[in-house]
Amino acid sequence: MNILYDERVDGVLPDVDKAVLLRTLRTRLPNLEVLHQREELKPYECDGLSAYRTTPLLVVLPRQLDEVQGVLRICHELRVPVVARGAGTGLSAGALPLEKGVLLVMARFNSILHIDPDARTARVQPGVRNLAISQAAAPYDLYYAPDPSSQIACSIGGNVAENAGGVHCLKYGLTVHNLLKIEILTVDGEHLTLGADALDSPGFDLLALFTGSEGMLGVITEVTVKLLPKPQTAKVLLAAFDSVEKAGRAVADIIAAGIIPAGLEMMDNLAIRAAEDFIHAGYPVEAHAILLCELDGVEADVHDDCARVRQVLERAGASSVRQARDEAERVRFWAGRKNAFPAVGRLAPDYYCMDGTIPRRELPGVLQAIAGLSTHYNLRVANVFHAGDGNMHPLILFDANQPGELERAEALGGQILELCVKVGGSITGEHGVGREKINQMCAQFNSDELTLFHAVKAAFDPGGLLNPGKNIPTLHRCAELGAMHVHMGQLPFPELERF
């Protein structure tokens, strides 16, 4: 089913008189920058998932908070849908605009308001880039832990909206674990403070609810994050394995040894070769899988843990274990992993990045099944994996210029995500549902669960004007998808093993 907003199954959107809206915005918010001409709107038609594009009705670029409030009030009065957007780096089309909606760009709110080294907090505007927080905190030997791979560009407001992750989640948590407080505006422009400068706040935990809510419940206008002292040292081990199973077992063995690495990443052979070709990180290109294990903390502990992990890796059957000799080599080891996406991107004109999570013990079976799907759809798949927390990023290679390949890539991706659900995982670990995985939500949740999600939405946005069509599918959409499955009389691709 089409991924772009489909009023037939996603719900009828109010018809908006663009001229009236534009006139009202200009009259009531004379200083607000509004883009409304076709060529001006073009750059905003997609986020980081560029396969899906819709030209917004209007784009507004406020500089003052009262302008954001004004936009929300006007849109609420005139019943105009609003899609909020930060840096637009999201990978699930969460900020995909609507033809009948205003795109509210928060990127200009890019001030760091206050760093408090004694409280170890940073209060920032939502458009501040993730990495800029750590840079501003660096003079105090503090940093902001969550580090999504887009951290040089992605904004903290978007990080909160998506509950962004990164490579250090197992030890340091997701965005939700590193937040103290957010300021938000509701759909009608009312201001609320969620959370506090203290570690908790009374009442229902709306901070937790809003984190990862994908712009469906309110618009984030300020964020207070926790800062951590920089670890004294970080060391990384690179282990090669002649089978993915062995590498998977090694991950479990490290955890069983009572060690929580700062980062624990796995790559399969196709990803290893691509990264090595691109970055020359020194990866063993013959290996079926490599593990990168980073240990950080106080010097003495890291030293001991490295010895322990090395022993575990060797016992798990690693064909080689190398510890980065110096900082330059550590950075090079990581560069291969951090550039795995663009590296794989060089193997084909297009790639499609998936984001499922699974219980780690299911890894060998899931990788085997992905290999089967890859053969079936005749599309190559490279696997990079946040192995510590079970978050897989299969990268499906395709060529959008070949008729049918994008559709095949989508179908293959959808199958992978449904597989993740079947083994007890989730369709998205850190990229969000957005528009991209709206259909797979029907596989992860039943209609009663989806109904409850809609009830939560109704508590904050009864008119459904904030980011309609994202995150939670309508029951109508799921019913039509179900009918498609039944229509085929059986599950698609019955020859594939399922577990």
């Binding site: 939700v176 908790d200 419940l217 063995d253 106080v298 670990g429």
Partner: protein, 353 residues
């Protein structure tokens, strides 16, 4: 595990909820009732969750445990302990607390500022809703951003949004080394030191000041703990101190003046309030024994960005700090959506919820 320890009575609980929905009977959801002193008194029929108990699954290498709501917290702790793991946020058991009550109250112990709160460790829940359905949210994986995070919303909701029947929690290996010390320091200097140490990679995992002495727990690998001990000095302290602090068994918590919990920004200076104070969480949680008026205490803590909860039952009409009007309106709206008939612990958190 013995079968008596592992019983699924969710069908019965669901039936009881459906009956309550049919007759609009308010329910008082209750495990061991170990936290009866918290919150407002709730009218209604008791829904006893203790029968629904047992560990559903636990794989130490996945760092996840799933348990039914009636499972005693002590039992959960023992199972984890055997595998060398723990609930890092140290929820108190106040006697016989159950897993359901642990999540519903969302309380965390001394390690909280460093480990995260109980809510931070919730990965998934099963909940009986106000629509009479038994639903599953979240799961057993560390990262999961599909749909709204209703699991973490349940933590600290005091049962007002549904009956928590099952929870999956992230668990962590116990630290290899743990050493507790105490240093003679007055309150003002202790708070300054804590702020200074907080900016350094020191292995502190608990910090409590009793007015005269600063009690610290150092945890991590052997090397870091020994190095920190050498640097900080101090006398050795029995580790049971932290349990007694967490379970309110220190003499400070003996009956007497009303007990208040103050939640504050961690670097808040010494607060001028009548009565006695005990500082925990490195400054972010302070216990106050005081006869001062609730409004006075709350004015003082609100000014510094905190809030105050009354732990002496029945003393004030709103033991949890009243919310700003707009925020209360949205909390009510959420309650009405998830519990339209208002049958789950009505009024336990606030009269309006």
């Amino acid at each position: 595990m013995r079968s008596a320890d592992n019983v699924d009575t969710s069908a019965l609980l669901l039936e009881q909820v459906n009956q309550a929905l049919q007759y609009a009977t308010p329910l008082r959801i209750q495990g061991a009732n170990s936290k009866a002193f918290l919150g407002r008194s709730v009218p209604g029929e008791v829904l006893d969750t203790r029968g629904h108990r047992g560990i559903v699954s636990y794989d130490p290498t996945e760092l996840v445990i799933t348990a039914r709501c009636g499972t005693p917290l002590m039992e959960l702790a023992q199972v984890l302990d055997k595998a060398g793991q723990m609930l890092a946020c140290e929820p108190p058991s106040f006697g016989a607390a159950t897993v359901g009550g642990m999540v519903a109250s969302g309380l965390s112990g001394p390690r909280r500022p460093w480990s995260g709160s109980l809510r931070d460790f919730v990965l998934g829940t099963r909940v009986i809703t106000g629509h009479g359905k038994h639903l599953r949210f979240g799961g057993e994986v560390m990262k999961n951003v599909a749909g709204y995070d209703l699991s973490r919303l349940m933590a600290g909701s005091y049962g007002a949004l549904g009956v928590i029947t099952e929870v999956s929690l992230k668990v962590l290996p116990k630290p290899r080394q743990s050493l507790s010390i105490s240093l003679e320091l007055d309150t003002a200097r202790a708070l300054l030191r804590l702020a200074e140490w907080g900016r350094q990679p020191l292995p502190i995992s608990a910090a409590c000041h009793d007015g005269q002495r600063l009690h610290l727990r150092l945890e991590g690998g052997e090397g870091s703990v020994m190095a920190a001990h050498e640097r900080l000095g101090g006398e050795r302290l029995d580790a049971s101190f932290w349990t007694r602090l967490n379970e309110h068994q220190l003499s400070f918590f003996d009956e007497g003046q009303p007990l208040w919990r103050l939640s504050l920004p961690n670097n808040t200076p010494e607060l001028e309030l009548p009565g006695e104070q005990l500082i925990d969480w490195g400054g972010a949680q302070r216990w106050l024994k005081s006869d001062a008026e609730a409004s006075f205490i709350r004015t003082v803590v609100t000014e510094v960005g905190g809030h105050a909860t009354c732990y002496s039952h029945g003393l004030v009409n709103s033991p949890f700090q009243p919310l700003p009007d707009a925020l209360m309106r949205y909390q009510r709206s959420l309650k009405q959506q998830l519990d339209p008939q208002g049958i789950f612990n009505p009024g336990r958190l606030y009269a309006e919820l």
